[in-house]
Chain length 382, copies 2
């Protein structure tokens, strides 16, 4: 038995799609797609809010040159295209010709549910889902993938309840699992960085926040951050070394990726560890780790190896972390997020756009830049 | 009761010392030092052969500019000095004014032994020791640190029985421990590289050897290497990707450190893994690892991150590996080395020098360059 709310669920609805073409461009458009009926253990969610996270941009734009976006189509069915630089085109070769849905996460109302008890229990409820393809008016997902929002929470409150909160919790869990007791975060004035700051204050974990302006430093300090280093300050390396000496942080999560940030952090960690220690020909024996989880700078990562031989730099991604953590740990993490949805794990938005609005050249100029503090929310049914 | 062979053990003997001065130079000289009497569990070894390994050069020269070596002293008591570039001087700040012994390993005859049974059992025996300070005529070491050489082996055979053999075995053990089934090695025509090639043939482990000339490629192929890639060939990246596709190697040990080698390997691994696979927005989920264990190129490591997020680059050092492996595993490894001392684990030398000879400008010009295939043996008592 399938139970739906027929007048609420249209047969067709809009979904945002990203297509890399053989002529090395990316094309974003709205597709009219069928809204599928739920299977026994599935529900259909009317998506009311979905954030544009930095982690959505790779799939959306495939590394295109966003200074060359061109618009076509109609106001209600816009089509935007942008050319891919050669490197981006090579990296996107495997997706040429595939119209891909986008949007990692979002929240909305369950408007149809399959016959199972678990699915039925969600009917009419406001849920958050990290199912991919959330930049759509309707989305069919497994009932088990839905997190029911606590009473009083809105779809906007719950829209970003997965990627950033689970990433912040995942960073802290990785820190603990690998034997560190304090951590460093770059691009730390971001929504994620502010969230991590609140989480670390709550859990009494020393956090060194690296930001890229005095204003961002001020913002974090006002939010209670104790160790904030501004990478544009002339004293940055000394400030960082001092903060690392105080916190003994030996693990960092870096959203920048390119350039010398990872190298600067490792060298400052080594300087903080070695201060006053006796000479060791291979550097300190303390393992120093930087995980690169973002790519704000897509250029090469440059490591000036003055930090001995006990070090690692590597990629970090939420999905494999969650797979390793296992379902019980993930469930505990999600419950913690639900409890702190409007406090520790709250996101703030600087703009709201419809699906069509997300495809305007002006909106892309803002959210495509990944400027710290500029976060958009897409409201597909507004 | 201490048993010695008095007429064989002088009260004073020569030892090579390295000193970084406050005026940013390194000074190498021979010091006349007391030969200490062994404690109950110790022996005194007359050092007959000690190799100059790449891993000895850092302590010997402290990163000095070897194109500016100057000689002084007398033929039997030479003193050589070389200036330290600013970066090297900073890195060596903690050893300024300390006269440091050098030479990681060597072999020789036990000429005095403490009262314990273990020490006494070694009297008169030819042993290999990795005790540090082996560029000396006599060296007091714990009896437990000595590996008795098998019958028929000479001191020259046993001199390099620790660093390179244990490193080769350690690389293979690390490969297995981290779940890989094949490996990549750079600067692979080195003594270590040739040894690793023999070991991998013996253990049937696919090995991709990266070398820096056609002649080196030929040398390895003649020694039975199946996958050899010449980084100076125009087809290098394609050759490497093909070798990685065939071997499925996802771990590499890199002696070069600086430049793009680690990056090239990771990108080629990713290309080999992704060939024919469907598009994945974050790259392959297969973890790709490069360990940097040497610094033939002291310049920055440049990573062009086209290899997804499942990757790591890190330092690798024998000592912490052995500590983690534990004494039983290390004992098994040493027994395997002893059994293969003149076959799998044999080293070849292109020159033999006395302690004074090691401090000649000509010799330093050869062994200080770390040129592949140029390996010197110091014979302190010749």
């Amino acid at each position: 038995m399938e139970v739906a709310v027929p007048d609420q669920v249209p047969a067709q609805a809009l979904a945002l799609r990203s297509l890399v073409t053989a002529s090395q461009t990316v094309e974003l458009a709205l597709a009219e797609v069928s809204v599928p009926a739920p299977g026994p253990h599935e529900v259909v969610v009317r998506v009311e809010a979905a954030p544009v996270n930095p982690s959505d941009l790779g799939l959306l734009f495939a590394g295109a040159d966003l200074s060359q976006v061109t618009a076509a189509g109609t106001p209600s069915r816009p089509v935007v295209t942008a050319p891919l630089p050669a490197g981006a085109a090579r990296a996107a070769a495997a997706r040429v010709g595939q119209s891909l849905p986008a949007g990692n996460e979002g929240a909305g109302t369950v408007v149809a549910a399959g016959a199972s008890d678990a699915a039925q229990a969600l009917l009419g409820k406001l849920v958050a889902v990290a199912g991919g393809g959330m930049y759509a008016q309707y989305r069919r997902v497994p009932a088990a993938a839905c997190l029911e929002l606590p009473a009083g929470a809105t779809a906007a409150d719950g829209a970003a309840s997965f990627v950033n909160p689970m990433t912040a919790l995942g960073m802290v869990a990785t820190m603990r699992r690998e034997g560190h007791t304090a951590l460093v975060h770059t691009a730390a004035a971001s929504n994620l960085g502010q969230m991590l700051n609140r989480l670390c204050i709550e859990d009494q974990i020393p956090l060194v926040s690296i930001v890229r302006s005095a204003a961002q430093a001020e913002l974090l300090r006002a939010a209670g951050a104790r160790w904030v280093c501004d990478s544009t300050a002339a004293t940055f390396r000394a400030d960082l070394t001092e903060a690392l000496a105080e916190t003994r942080a030996t693990i960092a999560f870096d959203a920048i990726g390119g350039g010398r940030m990872a190298s600067d952090i490792l060298n400052a960690m080594e300087a903080a560890i070695s201060a006053g220690a006796e000479f060791s020909r291979y550097g300190s024996a303390v393992h120093k780790q930087v995980y690169i989880y973002g790519s704000l700078d897509r250029g090469p990562t440059e490591l000036t190896r003055g930090f001995g031989l006990a070090w690692g730099v590597g990629g970090w991604l939420l999905t494999p972390f969650l797979r390793q953590a296992g379902p019980e740990e993930v469930a505990r993490m999600r419950q913690r997020v639900a409890a702190g949805l409007t406090t520790t794990f709250a996101s703030r938005y600087t703009g709201e756009v419809t699906l069509a609005g997300a495809l305007s050249v002006d909106a892309i100029a803002v959210y495509g830049r990944q400027a710290t503090g500029q976060k958009y929310l897409i409201t597909p049914n507004a």
